[in-house]
Each structure stands twice: as C-alpha cells, then as structure tokens.
C-alpha cells in the first residue's frame, strides 16, 4: 500500500502528533537552558493541537458520527492563545532569573533546595 496513493487517515495525523509530543518531552528533559525548556513546552502544545484538529477534521474520518467537529478547532484556538500567555510569563520569569543569577542554566537554580 504505497503511502503516496493510500488516502491519509486520522491515525497518520496522530502519529505525527505523538512524534512532536515526544520531541517536546525529550527537549524539556535534556535541555539545561531555560529557554530550551520553553521550546520543549511549545512542541508539546503543538503536538496536542495537531491531535485536536485531526479529530475534528471533516476530511479524515469515514463516519462523521462521533467526530468532535468544530470543537476541535475551537479548543486548538484556545490552546494557541494560552500558549502565548504562558510563553510571556515564562519569559518574564526567565529574564528575572537571568538578572539575579546572571545565567540561564536551569541546573544552577537550586536555592530552594534544603
């Protein structure tokens, strides 16, 4: 079943979504720069968004009976807006952290430790 010919189904989108999600998690786990972690979060949110859109898309499913329809796109819109807000706050915290500690290395942020 040569991929170019077979029609694209919902599961293909889900696979791409999960790859993005996993890259995001990996990025958050391994990056020591606070902005790297932030980028990881963006990837995770995008993975989730892709799934929402895929589920709600009219073209990807055989029966439209239990498709979430427009709700998928609406929730994706909410996610995008909230991601912008989250990035702004995270950046403000990162900048303040940078001003006080003159570094953005996450591993050195251990003052709260006992």
């Amino acid at each position: 079943m040569n991929p170019l010919v077979a029609p694209i189904g919902l599961s293909h989108y889900l696979v791409v979504g999960s790859i993005l999600f996993v890259c995001g998690v990996l990025c958050m786990a391994t990056k020591r720069n606070v902005l790297g972690v932030l980028m990881g979060i963006e990837l995770v949110l995008n993975g989730a968004n892709l799934n929402f859109i895929a589920f709600g898309s009219p073209m990807l499913r055989a029966d439209q009976s239990n498709s979430i329809g427009l709700d998928g796109q609406m929730i994706a819109l909410f996610v995008i807006v909230l991601a912008a807000a989250e990035a702004a706050v995270a950046l403000a915290i990162a900048l303040n952290y940078y001003h006080t500690h003159a570094t953005v290395d996450v591993d050195q942020a251990n003052e709260l430790k006992g």
């Binding site: 919902l10 963006e42 900048l95």
Partner: protein
C-alpha cells in the same frame, strides 16, 4: 498506479519537515539554532492544519504562534545571551535515560493511534471536497452559538442546547491582557540614574 493522491503527498511532505526539525530542535546545542528549527517546524505544523481543513487555524498558528510567541522567545534568547552563545551540554547519562523513556512513550502512542479501526482513514470512495472548506465563518458562528457543523445532530436537544464559545473567548482575552501586563511588570528592572553626581556611573539596584 492510479493518480497520486495529492492530499497524502503534501501531508507526507509537511509531516516530514515538521518531525525532522522537531528532532533537530532536540539535538541542536546552540540556542539560536534551536529557535530557528522550532520556527520551521511550527510553520510545517501550520501547513498540516491547512491540510486538515482548518485554514483559519493555520493562519492563526502562523500569526499568533510563529509570528508572536516565537519572536518573544527569540527576544528572550537575545536578551539572555551572555557573550558567545555558550552551549550547555547535558551529560550522556541523562540523554540515555531520557531516550529510553521517550522511546517507550512513543511506542505506546503509535500503537494506540493505529489500534482503533475507526481512525484508519476515509474510504477511498468518499470524494474529498475540492475547494478549501471555509471554516472561518463556521468558527465565527460557532462563537455565536449557531453550530453549523452539528446541525445534522441526531437529537434535537443537543442541536438546540449547544451554547456558543463566546463567553470562554472573552474570559481568555481578559486573561491574556492580565498575563501580559504582569509579565511586563515582572521583567521590568528599576534603576536610579543619578545625574551630575561626581561619580557619573549609574548605580544599579537589581
């Protein structure tokens, strides 16, 4: 070999771009390179949105996410750059553990996405709409409560009682304003600039 299904061709293209650059973000060490790869990956995801029939969402993603959030991130990268972008390496041990965990998670997700037959895909027979579906207007009415896509809902109650998204949308916009004002206040540093005192150097108060 009958005609190439254009939809799947473009899907494969965008998906490949999105995934490779997502992996590049993980691998890259220089923070600015990471930011650029992320921008390209998000643009490819916007392409996927267009392909999935959500053209308004694709444009929104391009504008708000790539145009706004990513520029914010790049600004953050520039402002916290201390000298040449020192790339902070993480030890190989952490990499190993992270890779194993991620691999397991990926396997589970892919398994799940292929397990349900309903998600397999549309029958070849169902014609795919030629023109790009106009979701902008439907989303607009979705806000107002006229659920254009749910009208063939089986039970009348669901069709009648679906309230619009207007109220949550207003709440979100107020929330966004509050968050941005807070972020601006948080990032602002006060400084006293003394004029004409003998020591001309401004004393900085963190």
């Amino acid at each position: 070999m009958d005609a190439i299904n254009w939809h799947s061709f473009f899907f494969l293209m965008c998906a490949l771009v999105a995934c490779t650059f997502a992996i590049a973000v993980v691998i890259a060490s220089n923070i600015v390179r990471m930011a650029c790869y992320l921008v390209i990956s998000l643009a490819a995801v916007a392409g996927l949105f267009f392909l999935a029939g959500a053209d308004f969402l694709g444009a929104a993603q391009l504008m708000v996410y790539v145009g706004g959030t990513m520029v914010l991130l790049v600004f953050g990268v520039m402002l916290t750059a201390r000298g040449p972008f020192v790339s902070m390496k993480t030890g190989p041990a952490q990499w190993l553990v992270a890779l194993m965990a991620a691999g397991a998670l990926l396997f589970v997700l892919v398994q799940a996405s292929f397990s349900i037959p309903a998600w397999a895909g549309p029958l070849a027979s169902q014609p795919q709409p030629a023109t790009l579906p106009a979701t902008a207007e439907q989303l607009g009415y979705g806000l107002l409560g006229v659920r254009a896509d749910q009208l063939d809902q089986r039970d009348a109650v669901a069709r009648g009682g679906l309230s619009g998204y207007l109220l949550p949308f207003e709440i979100i916009s107020v929330h966004l304003v509050v968050v941005l004002v807070g972020a601006a206040y948080l990032a602002r540093a006060k400084r006293r600039v003394t004029k004409l005192s003998t020591n001309t150097a401004g004393s900085h108060k963190p």
